[in-house]
Structure formats: C-alpha cells, structure tokens
Amino acid sequence: MTDLFQSDLSALARQIPPGASVAINKGEGPDVPMALAKEIVRQGIRGLKLITIPASALPVSGMMVDMLIGAGCVKSIETSGVSMSELGAAPRFTKAVKDGALQVLDATCPAVLAALHAGAKGQPFASLRGIVGSDLEKHRDDFKLIDNPFEPGDPVVVLKAINPDVAIFHARYADRDGNVWIGRHRDQLFMAHASKKVLVTVEEVVDRNFYDDEAMVTGMIPSFYIDAICEAPGGALPMGLDGNANIKAVLAYMAAARTDEGFQAWLDENVLAGAKAAAE
C-alpha cells in the first residue's frame, strides 16, 4: 500500500490552502468531487480561485460550483460557463456576480483547455484560432493577440499556460499503489499533469496494480502525479455512478438557493449538519 491514502475527507481538504487556484472538471461523467467540495465548505477554506475545465454547466458540476460560491469559498472563477444546463441558471453564481462579490475571468472552452494543455507540458503558452475581435480577448491579460511568427499579417491569439495549485476530482477506482483509473475522461489526466497538487476521491480502492492489465493502464493516471487519495463511495452524488444526475436533488438545491436564507438552510441541512453534530 502506498502512503497516498488518507482515511478521511478532512485530511484531503486540509491540503488545499486558502487562496489556492483549484481546477475542477466539467462533470460529464461521475467525476464531480462533491463530497470533497462539501468538506471544503465545512472547513471554511476561502479565497479560492476556481478554474473550470472548461465549464461547470451540467446539473451536478454547476451545483457544486454554485454551492462553493454561495458558501463564500470562492474569490474568482475562470470559466467558459456556469449553469445547471437545461435546469436553469446557477442561482448563487448569478447573485454573486450581480453583487460584485465574485470576479469572473470569462473564457471560451478551447482556450481553457489549450492553456491547461500548455501547462501540462510545462510550456509558456499555446496558440489558438478564433477569439480575435471578441470581448473575451479585450478583458483577459493572459490572452494576447500577436502576429503569427510564420505568416506575417495573420493575427493569432496566444494564451498563457495554466498551472493550477490544486486539481480535485472523483474517480471510479484507485489501485493499491495509488494509480487512479479514469477511463476515457482524459481531462482529469491533463488536469493532473498541469497541477502542482492532485487530490482525488475514489469510489473504490481495489487490491491490485493496474499496470498488470494493459486495458486498465490505458485509462489510468500513474501514481506519481497524485498527492493524496481518499476512498469516498458516492463522492460524486447527486451524480450517480451511471452518469445520470439525481435531477430532483439538483432542483431542490436550486429552489432553496434562490434566496440567501434558503441557501443557508440547505447548507445547514446538507453540508454542515454532520460537522455540527460531530462538534457537539
């Protein structure tokens, strides 16, 4: 057994310093680190600079980001979009922007991905077509319009590499040596390569080594990119293991989060209750 394993979520969350930049993936699969996000709220870690890879606009990933914002953990968010997909707008995000309480670094999806990719390679910047003439370009210091060095008169945007302080995600399996299986969720791989620290919750730790099975190696992040792992069954809920969100749970959150009081009551019941009970 490797020493990467932590026995509980609080030990994982303690490795996220206040003010850290934290990468969070899109959440198309059962990889939303909701349990860890709730622990971040319980520990009151503040000033986080979220970076969504490349957006948080699916019901559960949107809800997680919205909750972190509502709970006051987030100072800024670099994103191509925050919403609950077809369920509607993210209530706390919308309010925080209106109140001027949240800085948004507006991006477009491939720009976040290209900049993260440059970071994963340890390179200073990436080139990207498009963006020219948009207002995205005007408001970002880390997007620059240059002349293509190989074709004068061809304007191209270059993007400064992104290297998050911390990447967090939920995965299906870790093996006993700390290799993490992600299947074809390659975004987590790029996040892990690019980030200075990688904290992972997994559905299950299995007593084997994935290197013994070429099919598993193919969809795996090697342990040397990982800093800590905690087994947290259901750690992506209300995103189910089958990739289907519990829509009722998301709608209940959205209804509550429409008001400050409703959001606080939801937090008390769904996030803080356990911590309070434990503290009493």
């Binding site: 899109k26 198309e28 699969g29 890879i53 957006a55 606009a57 699916l58 994103t79 191509s80 979009g81 925050v82 919403s83 997909s85 077809e86 369920l87 707008a89 993210a90 919308t94 922007v97 209106k98 001027g100 800085q103 948004v104 507006d106 991006a107 477009t108 999806c109 491939p110 720009a111 991905l113 290209a114 990719h117 077509r129 498009g130 963006i131 020219v132 003439g133 948009s134 207002d135 995205l136 408001h139 008169g153 304007p155 191209v156 074809r184 969720h185 390659r186 975004d187 791989l189 790029f190 809920l237 209300p238 189910g240 990739g243 289907n244 969100a245 519990n246 829509i247 009722k248 749970a249």
Partner: protein, 254 residues
Amino acid sequence: MTADAPCRDEEIYANAIAGLLVGAKHVAVGMVSPIPGTGALLAREKSGGKTRVSILGKQKMLPWTDGSQELFDLAGQGRLDGFFLSGGQIDRQANINLVGIGDYPDHKVRWSGSFGSGYLYFVVPRVILFRWEHTRRTLVEKVDFISAPGTSEPGVYRPGGPIALITNLCLFEFLKDRGRFRLKSVHPGHTLEEVRDNTGFDFDLPESVPETPVPDAATLETIRGPVATRIAEVYPVFARDVFGIEPAKAPDAA
C-alpha cells in the same frame, strides 16, 4: 405521441434545422440545445446515418477518446461541419452575447458564459444560430458583450461562421458578404409585420417571403420515433414536455 397528433412548433423548427444540414458529415450539438439536437438527429435519420451527430452533455453518447478538447480539435482540423450557437443577445451583424446585459463586468443581468462560441464560430463552416424568444430584447442592434463576432476583418483566419438564425417567428439566412441577415421564411401563424416589429435590427428581404414548411407525415414519424428516443437520453425534461416520453433509463436514479 402518435403521428396523428398536431405538429408542434418544436417539430417545425427541428425540420427547418435538418434542412440546413443536408450533406454534413459531422454535426455537434452543444449544451442546452434540445431543439437543435432534435434537428441534427433528424438530419442524421434522413441521411441514412451518413451524418454523424455528437451531442454534448452526456459522456456515453459522445464518440471522443481524447477528452473535452476533442470536439474543438475536430473543429480545428476542419472535420466538423455543423454546430449550433445561441445568445442572450444577437445583433444585426450576427455578433452573439452569452455573458450578460450592461457593462462588463458589472452586468445588470449575468448569463452563464461564452462556452465554445469564441472558437467554434470561427472554424465550423455551418453554424446555425437559434434563439426562440424573438423580441427587441434578444435581437438587438448591437450586443453589450461580444462572446463571438459574426464576421471578421480580412486577414483573420475564419473558415467558419453563421449561416442562419432560427427563432420562434422565422428563419433568417446570414449573408456573409453583406454581414447581415436576410429573412428566409416566416413560421406558420406568424407574419412579416410581426417579425419586423419584434426585431431590433434591420435585415434584408427576399422578393416574396415563403412560409416555413411543416414536416410531412413521414418526417413527423421519424421525429417522434427514433429521434425522440435518442434526445430523451440527453434532455429528459424536454423529451417529456414535447414528446411525452420518458427516457429508457430513469435519469434521476442516483
């Protein structure tokens, strides 16, 4: 829903969208785009499966094997023919705004964000704009924030761009050379005057304005059969409301 049920507006829109995708090899459908998804899947059925449709939002329905970047890489390589974009505001020059109303960053109203628009609008040859609320609030003379511009200056790499805009009143085509829209057809039950009254910008007119066609019986059957079943996997709420069907697998089983 049976083929006898009256044709719904969503079905007229989807049918019009499918007509814009004839001959496309690969069409992708972005987030929160159930009617475009329906239109693209209809185009796929009509092509006998030759048009590939990739719908974002549900990993297991996507063909990617290289993460989220693959959609954009595919588009960058010129392998993606069609995509859909919307806007909280869309203006005369087809600039789109997905960010908010008022001065950036101090919006009066904040929307979700620009998503892939700032890139895909430049590189996908057939971008279809959709905005169901056709009002002077949504179709404006000038957007407050350009998530992605409708046209580019000469010299800017731009193999892609808008070809059409569909709303709950009509279908516009976009004239790239003139950098403005031309009305193509008005949906059944609506009038040119209504379109004019509700559009915040000036647009070109054809000699006569046809009515947007209603899908024929065979098309309706396809929409309500294989297309509806597949769309329900990504947009369960939409499929329930429009087609009255539930996805094969309960979406809220956590």
